[in-house]
């Protein structure tokens, strides 16, 4: 009978871990018009940025934003970074994270953007060095 109690406790502990892991996702909880606009804005300029990245005029920095490296890409870079920042701050605020979590959100997005960058794109690694993927 004692072993049954222990088994029940182990099962409950496992269940607890599963529910914890399940809960640890950070979603956009409310798709406000502003969030939708930021997402759609990013989607609409994706091809333009892709082309600028292929030319080496724009790169993905290690803070989750794009950076103009040469040429005349500053306006599209500014618009893209405005939308990205809005999305990052929305994730922080809608998930009740502390304000200083923005840095972590930016770092995680930066890593995902580096992973998804095409071959030949300029990317900035975690140490700050720019390389060509």
């Amino acid at each position: 009978m004692k072993s049954r109690t222990i088994m029940t406790m182990v099962f409950l502990a496992a269940l607890c871990m599963v529910t914890n892991a399940w809960a640890a996702s950070y979603d956009i909880k409310e798709m406000t018009p502003e969030v939708k606009s930021a997402l759609d804005g990013r989607r609409s300029r994706f091809e333009e940025l892709k082309s600028l990245k292929a030319q080496g005029a724009v790169g993905e920095n290690n803070k989750g934003y794009v950076e103009a490296l040469s040429g005349n890409a500053q306006s599209v870079v500014d618009a893209e970074n405005r939308d990205r920042r809005f999305i990052y701050t929305t994730i922080v605020s809608q998930n009740g994270l502390p304000a200083d979590a923005l840095g972590t959100v930016e770092d995680v997005f930066a890593k995902v953007q580096r992973d998804k960058a095409s071959s030949g794109d300029k990317i900035q690694d975690a140490s700050g060095s720019w390389t060509t993927k």
């Binding site: 409310e30 997402l39 890593k111």
Partner: protein, 73 residues
Amino acid sequence: MKLNHYIGCVLGIAGLLTAQGCTVKAVGDPNRPITINAHITIDVKGLQKTANSIEDYVSGDTSAPQANPQGGK
């Protein structure tokens, strides 16, 4: 013996819920407020999942990410 088993389970559930819920109730002198420094650990894996979903939508690989009022901590 069976009663012990149930008491063990109830105490176990209560312990786990306490550990998960982490509700702190401070009672004391209002002129001497108690400061509690809470440390929140962000689950980077969960964040990566969200980032991937958003970046996939931006690149046109998937449809719009759905708002999920139930999810998250």
